[in-house]
């Protein structure tokens, strides 16, 4: 039985699947905010603490240890996480997304499984309350509409839309449906909050299915979803907005110009479905938020 006595309360959920030797090292961090843990077979573990990278030279995991991490993450039930594993990730109950790198096994053109796992990337969500308050109070509260949040990876897009969904749910009598394809948006704590009486969550539903299901059966006023990655996502989103439902989504782009130039988002650009573009950037530990209107004109924030 694993001893829980020395575990930090704040990071306990991550410790449920990590090996003892790594837990001991992380406990020494003394409650500093942990953003990411990168585990590579037989290489020193790398952690990102409060935005800074630290290499744990004394700690490395073998392939067998990495497999045990995956088994614990799946609660010894690989079959229950089969679909996620095929897509290259597992999301824990508390929203930690663990990306998996290894050998993908294919059958008839589809991914069947992953074997010989060599890397894990554990991203730890940080529920930052109030990150969307200024945008909500100054713009969204008065107009509503569809919003696209843009930034590079790991800067805070999901945190922003999570907070915005909560703001809408808490302050307005609108039905908010969260299409949470990777179980990252609506964390356990978010799902259980009493203020979420207007929040419906579709976990592990892909966007096309989620949008269709929501419109047919859940009567949404707003749909919140994460990362748009392909043209199909964009098409589903445009159909949904034209069908009368506001959508709040995210996409990878380092700037508004970057979004404008990306070919995969040409459908979104041409259809002009978004009322606001929120661009989040990071300078050191500081985050900057810029707001643009539907014509890509910067608004005073």
């Amino acid at each position: 039985m694993r001893s829980n006595k020395r575990l930090s309360k704040i990071q306990y959920s991550v410790y449920e699947f990590l090996p003892e030797k790594l837990i001991k090292e992380l406990s020494a961090l003394k409650n500093k905010p942990l953003n990411e843990i990168r585990i590579r077979k037989d290489c020193p573990v790398k952690v990102v603490i409060n935005g800074e990278v630290k290499i744990l030279n004394k700690i490395s995991l073998s392939e067998a240890e990495i497999e045990r991490v995956i088994l614990r993450l799946c609660k010894n039930s690989i079959h229950a996480y089969e679909e996620q594993i095929k897509r290259g990730f597992i999301t824990s109950d508390n929203g930690e997304r663990v990306g998996i790198a290894g050998e993908f096994v294919k059958e008839n053109g589809s991914i069947l499984a992953i074997k010989n796992v060599t890397s894990l990337c554990v991203r730890i969500p940080n529920e930052v309350n109030g990150v969307s308050n200024k945008f909500y109070d100054k713009f969204y509260k008065n107009t509503g509409g569809s919003v696209l949040v843009l930034s590079k990876a790991g800067v805070g897009k999901t945190t922003f839309i999570r907070d915005l969904a909560l703001n809408i749910s808490k302050n307005e009598n609108k039905n908010v449906v969260v299409v949470d394809e990777r179980n990252e948006i609506a964390l356990k704590g978010v799902k259980n909050k009493k203020s979420n009486h207007c929040l419906d969550v579709l976990t592990y539903a892909d966007k096309h299915f989620g949008f269709t299901q929501a419109i047919r059966t859940l009567n949404p006023d707003v749909i919140v979803t994460d990362e748009l990655v392909c043209e199909e996502d964009a098409i589903s989103l445009v159909d949904t907005v034209y069908g009368g439902v506001d959508v709040i989504a995210t996409a990878h782009a380092k700037s508004i110009e970057g979004f404008y130039l990306r070919k995969r988002f040409s459908t979104l650009k041409n259809s002009k479905v978004f009322d606001y573009y929120v661009v989040i950037s990071k300078t050191g530990l500081e985050r900057n938020i810029e707001i643009f209107n539907s014509e890509f004109k910067k608004l005073c924030f």
């Binding site: 088994l71 010894n76 039930s77 690989i78 079959h79 229950a80 089969e82």
Partner: protein, 155 residues
């Protein structure tokens, strides 16, 4: 004096039947054990085809056998599983293989393995049922007969 002898004799009959019943219950427990194993196979096969729940949720069932329920609880906690004495070495290996299958791979692979293992467990259940049917009433009757003999001897 005669009444004391009758009372003592009756006590001997009661005790003899009680001992016989305890012995006979071992056959019943063995049958319930295999019945529980088959039940857990059915639950897993069904769950793997449909909800694909985590192992601790899908195995959370009321089992007829208390000893099997304890084994399942140990398995879920990752502790050593202690098998009852009536489980032979071969059957112990089969059960260990069964538990090592659970949760270790994708749903189709597990389902195929469990369906195959279930046929073995059905045979074990059949054997234990026959043993129970054959021996239970015979042992009770022998116990009663011994009790009566003791009563006669006492009187």
């Amino acid at each position: 004096m005669f009444l004391i002898k009758i009372a003592f004799g009756a006590l001997c009959v009661y005790t003899s039947i009680k001992i016989a019943k305890t012995k006979a219950m071992a056959f019943k427990e063995e049958y319930y054990f295999w019945e529980s194993v088959v039940l857990s196979c059915d639950v897993l096969i069904s769950d793997l085809s449909y909800k694909k729940s985590e192992v601790n949720a899908s195995l959370n069932v009321d089992y007829p056998s208390e000893s099997y329920a304890k084994i399942v609880a140990s398995f879920i906690k990752g502790e050593e599983m202690l098998f009852p004495k009536f489980i032979s070495q071969d059957d112990k290996i089969k059960l260990e293989n069964f538990f090592s299958t659970i949760g270790a791979s994708n749903s189709n692979t597990q389902k195929t393995a469990i369906i195959s293992q279930k046929t073995d467990f059905l045979k074990c259940r059949e054997i234990s049922k026959n043993k129970f049917d054959k021996n239970y009433s015979a042992i009770i009757k022998v116990g009663f007969a011994v009790g009566i003999m003791l009563l006669i001897l006492v009187i």
